[in-house]
């Protein structure tokens, strides 16, 4: 499989001889305790830190416009549609084309109704979607998101992960960090990396990585309740695999 980004032999902050590879069209999630280097790694991957240890696949990432990086909100405009339009105006597109792109992206992210709103009237989740829309309009190939789910509720996390899955299926590679493992449970076919003090302590298909509760607890991460319960029931030989449905689990326990 093609690689989009390769970080090789990184020596920076907590990282010593650190390497990571992001395959094309993958959904990579980076997690870990506080101060494990998640945000720094994402900055390196997004190319906002000047280092020679990161290489991009030139065929996919032709220039920095192909990388979209999110770590916090900073809206330069009060109005939602002005915020989303701005990158396209910078690219010198004509108004009709801009309107069409903005309309399409707003539909995908379910923010059509918000286009005429003021940013200050939006809640956190709506702002996040507006910020995401303004990143996506210019058609990036790599989307790097630093803990976007931090202040989202359970339902919002679920919806947001569905949106990201949709974005991935349109051919965009996603690298995301998270400080809790709840959102990981909502993804399909994602790769999870667990960092601890600048080292990868576990990696692989997300649900498989979640199986190792003692390792995750050791680095200071809490498993989502249903995963935690299933994994612990496995120790007592009461369960064979992770069951995400509470009702299914109850039925299988008390037959």
């Amino acid at each position: 499989m093609d690689t989009v980004v390769l970080v090789d032999n990184l020596m920076l902050g907590p990282f010593t001889k650190f390497s990571i590879e992001v395959p094309l069209n993958s959904f990579v999630i980076v997690t870990g305790s506080n101060n494990s280097g998640k945000s720094l790694l994402l900055k390196v991957i997004a190319g906002v830190i000047n280092t020679k240890n990161v290489t991009y696949n030139k065929e996919i990432i032709k220039n920095y416009e192909d990388i979209a990086y999110f770590n916090d909100f900073a809206f330069n405009f009060n109005n939602v549609s002005a915020t989303i339009r701005y990158p396209l105006e910078c690219l010198g597109m004509d108004d009709d084309k801009i309107k069409k792109i903005v309309k399409d992206i707003a539909k995908d992210l379910d923010i059509t109704k918000l286009l005429d709103s003021k940013i200050k009237d939006l809640n956190y989740f709506e702002r996040l979607k507006v910020a995401l829309a303004s990143l996506l309009v210019s058609g990036p190939k790599l989307l790097v998101l630093d803990d976007p789910c931090l202040y989202l509720s359970f339902y919002e996390k679920e919806e947001f992960m569905r949106i990201l899955e949709q974005i991935r299926s349109s051919g965009i590679t996603i690298v995301m960090s998270c400080s809790s493992l709840e959102e990981v449970g909502y993804t399909i076919n994602s790769t999870l990396y667990v960092l601890d003090k600048g080292n990868i302590v576990s990696s692989g298909e997300s649900l498989k990585v979640l199986n190792d509760d003692s390792l995750l607890n050791k680095v200071g991460l809490e498993l989502p309740f249903m995963v935690d319960l299933s994994v612990k029931l496995k120790y007592y030989n009461l369960m064979e695999k992770i069951n995400m449905s509470p009702l299914g689990l109850v039925d299988s326990l008390w037959k």
Binding site: N34, K232, Y236, L247, L253, W254
Partner: protein, 265 residues
Amino acid sequence: MEIKFSHVHSKIFTDLSFVIPKGEIVGIYGDNGDKLLRLISFDDESRGIIYFNKIRKLRRNYYLFRKSIVLVERGFVNLFNVDNIYEYFITYIRYKKLDVKDVNEKIKGALKIVGLRLDILERRISTLTFSEIKLLQLALAFLSNPKVILLDEPFRGLDLEIRKKLIRIINRLQEKFLKTIVIYSSNPNYLYQYTNYLIVLYDNKILVEGKTSDVFFDSEELSLYKIRRPDIVDFILLVKDKKNIKLPRRVDVKDLIKDIYWNVK
């Protein structure tokens, strides 16, 4: 300090009546709970009858209470465009008009409570990690020696170890220094684990208030309005509902597993 609100109105809320009991860790749950924190902290304007320890808040004694309440925001807002941390502390003390005799001792004390090392004072805010910023926010809040501490989503983004540390700090403040602590969180799991008294908001009204565990287990209003319960409570209630088996109220998954083991075996 007990705070009693009766028939309080603000831009968002109409006719709210509730009590923040003394010596408890109080949780606020539900939409616009963060706005309720802002109302309690006086950052948002309100009208109505408010009592602090049975003293009624009036226009002429208002300042007495303003100083005893501090709100720790969910995200850090740099108020002064100052990046050096020592400088930030000094600017903050002057801005808040805090009566401090020995500034350095005071800062040292505040950092010690939250477990930050002194050399952080040499650093810049922009180089701090997420958890360090959270602890810095708390240290700043403690400078004014407040009686009531309001925390907006304090646990978000913190790993288990730092969350435990934060809980230790909160419990000590409440038990040893008798501070009133109010926590808003949109995550019912945290509220269930860490608070003793709970106020639930729905549609900008108080839906139910009472002991946290009673509210989550017994309140029918939560089911009626489809308000999410803590996962572990949901599971225990599901077992009772579907299999008619009454498991004891638990907070820790490990205890629940033992209950299940004895029951299924």
